[in-house]
Symmetry: D2
């Protein structure tokens, strides 16, 4: 059944390939093939369905924030919320406006400022090995050793990520960054530059669809309650200021990245990942969003 | 089972009655007994469980926005979205700030400005009988003829609702209000002044837990897709700038009113309503939120 | 000398008549002849120079705020500043944004919200005769009985001034309006609809160029200190969010109106008024601003 | 006459020494003697009057922005305004909010972001010797070789000026900074750390009181028109979001620094400088502002 559904989706999204814009703020991202498309479905019982360029690795970018959020939650628990909120911001992902009026406390972990605070918390915990520990964690939840970050993307963001430097300095001025801004930003840019394909990403999120426990390895990463809460934040904040629209159209907790990937969770059932590098005006994969909308329509799966 | 759970919840929330503040912006709301508590659970099969002051009617206030939203969606469908958005606003329920920068288009139907646009659309459709038609619709989805608005609350809001008059005039200046502001506001204040009890409210929302169809009368109010979408908006926007927190703690689509009521939907299963008039700093029932959090914890029910 | 300067200015601004837009938000203003031009110079010794359509009356609009500000200052003195500030707002004249974050206290008396607070204070003082008393005051400072408000402009603004109704209701919700909003707005719209010509307006402001005392009638309207302060507020706030630009180019305290008039004060020397109905993007007379810039350049008069 | 006036002012401000707060964001500023007071008056004819600690050098901080503004204006003329505005911002001196909504173009040269753009323009012009050229310019307008920057203050701001790093990175993301952010910030922090006393500062601004020409050395730094314009910007923007209040109370173009200094210009007559390190809530010298208010009251000097 899923095989046919994926094929139908692929056929239906074909005419949309003209639309959207590949992210162009760094050359390493601008050079991808704009017509790539992949979609992967991983069920809790371990069965897997994929279509398109499912072996092609791409820059996961902001999807990595799900990993640092769950990793930090595992370490810090509720204490996390002293340093970042859980509310949709209603502003673009890189906005500084609310920070200035809200004492440098980011609205949620999925806007850039929030993820930078998470990076700071992981640097506080792991010092110089923070980046290594993040990668190790991602390999662990993915049950996959073949995950790397892309040096060119990392360096490119490091030299040109002015808006993110503005964010970290703003929060530092409010004392909501505890470590050296350079160390925090290296860690942040590094995890954003990690590359994975849709098969790997759908695999990596299975624990969020299964109460915090990987259904295949049985490793426990979060409590059931924490896992539910991560999903709730993905639903309300996972797509920046298009989160409401995504919830409205797709009806699933999800997280997008500017590299063109989107992962979505169907609690108790499966994890889905889609990839297509052209973005809509809000910075989310245009075709990816459409494909997920078709997927929930065709399968009748939704949390609502 | 639900009987015991409701009793346990009631026992556990007892110590919280000291906290919070009854809404005091109009006398009619300030005079309620602050220690009232009621909780009702209505299952799709028609079975019902309740505890506390379940017969006591209270002012449903913003919960009425769910009714005008579904009623307008039934009439206007997707066209609705030309005049209001679907995104969490990240601002208080009565904020004018975004309106000024976003051409008078409200962020979503559940902040005051959004609901005022809905009232305007219903006035465009039903002219002078808009208020009657809204009440008729609510009676219809509730399968209950014994629903009235409270004249004193209505009049009180009409003479003192300055912030709401500011909102409607602001949107009128952007031509996003088509009728006379006085007619629109009468309609808006009237549906906010409707009184219902938790039993009636939980009954009235059953169609949203059942793909748009009342499971008892079999009347169809929305398509399955529309019903899902209403739930999505309730989840992302139902509690103003505490919507993320509610999703995080409770994990259900819900809508609160400043009168102290909250309704929540468990898709495919039931509708729950709780009432307690003391509010937290965001204007949502303090004990009501806690009771729903306990309910999802104890039952394990959540959409995530 | 002034005769020649005025003639030179008229010649130089000729090529600019193609530019700008007549105010069109009410029909009564949109119907004026866009090519009108008048400029009047009134010296403290009573000598007068004029060029162009100096007998043509036009809608003084926001210039009337100078009169209600000085009238209120005469009545309330420093107490005024409990209810409105003295700072440039940095926002458009009709913005509600700061009001929401600053407890309904307008930034200064020359943005709409500030002038509406002044109208409220004058209604508190004069009740039903507030409009009459304002007109009487203007006749008094002008030493001229032939000043009227325009009924058509007044009514037009009264039925369509939604943004101003939004402002008054917003401030009323913060309790910074003490009287009925309808009474306040009638008073406000009435004084905005007053009609005067450049000769009359330049005459009316002479007391501000002479330490608060009319140099011809010797009537005292303000103390020397109050008169200086009014000029300071005109300089920093007299042209909305183009006040800095006006100070930079013209270098005189001034006040513009959307009807196309601008008055400027040269302390200790004279009062100047210019009229041309086409406006720049900030809502100030395009040619009027240019004419005043030329006037200060040619005469070498400036406060700096 | 001025001697007696200065003595009277000193007596009258005595009781205020309890109020206000010394700037404490860097240790080098926090360690000053809070009871210092000095006031200097320099007339165009070269006569000088001073009282108090007139030989004590202090950190001129933001007063240095007047020098970089006039220096840049001399180099770039009107072209300057492509990269920064001339309007009061209505926001605190270090706010990022408007930058985000206005494409990284600062409102005016006297808020931090504006002065950072000026530093960038001077780095574009002078490359590595920008700091030297700024110091040379200040010595030149001051006719004084004994002016130095304070290494400790400079280093202290360089390691802790997070908010300023946020500003420069924000503007860099909008491409309104052309050089390396580190070079720009070194230049900016260096000129802010310059130390002068009130005698030197009052001397240094004489050219602005004399149409751009130093009345003693006869060196020309600005055209008459440019000089007027600098004064206009000082009046409307010289005291951040207290500029209107300063214009209202003092009625002179002026510029304050967080080190406790304020300079003011009386066009055609003199330059005045006052120093007292305790600040009011807006970051301007509390006693300095009061002393200047007394000065204009006692002398009757004002531009209005």
């Amino acid at each position: 059944m899923y095989k046919k559904i994926l094929q139908d989706i692929k056929d239906e999204i074909e005419p949309l390939f003209e639309q959207g814009q590949v992210a162009n703020y760094i050359p390493a991202l601008a050079n991808v093939n704009p017509n790539k498309f992949a979609m992967s479905v991983y069920l809790l019982d371990g069965s897997y369905y994929g279509i398109g360029d499912i072996e092609d690795k791409f820059s996961i970018q902001s999807i990595s924030k799900v990993f640092t959020f769950t990793q930090s939650m595992g370490i810090y628990g509720e204490e996390l919320h002293k340093r970042l909120g859980l509310e949709p911001s209603g502003n673009p992902f890189n906005s500084l406006i609310r920070l200035e009026n809200e004492d440098g406390i980011p609205r949620n972990p999925f806007i850039n400022s929030g993820a930078i605070v998470l990076a700071d918390m992981l640097v506080s915990k792991y010092k110089k090995s923070a980046s290594d520990e993040i990668l190790k964690y991602i390999k662990n939840v993915s049950d996959n050793d073949d995950i790397l970050y892309n040096e060119a993307v990392y360096k490119s963001e490091k030299v040109s990520g002015y808006r993110n430097y503005a964010l970290v300095n703003m929060m530092k001025s409010f004392k909501n960054i505890k470590n050296h801004t350079a160390d925090v930003m290296s860690t942040y840019f590094k995890h954003c530059s990690i590359e994975m394909n849709t098969k790997e990403l759908s695999r990596s999120m299975l624990f969020l669809a299964n109460h915090g426990i990987d259904p295949i390895t049985n490793k426990k990463f979060l409590t059931s309650s924490q896992s539910k809460r991560v999903s709730a934040v993905m639903l309300t904040c996972g797509h920046y200021d298009a989160s409401g629209d995504f919830a409205f159209r797709v009806g699933l907790p999800g997280k997008s990245g500017v590299g063109g990937g989107i992962v979505a969770i169907i609690p108790g059932k499966m994890s889905v990942c889609v990839y297509s590098p052209k973005l809509n005006s809000k910075g989310n994969s245009l075709i990816g969003t459409k494909a997920l909308e078709l997927f929930t329509t065709k399968t009748g799966l939704s949390i609502f």
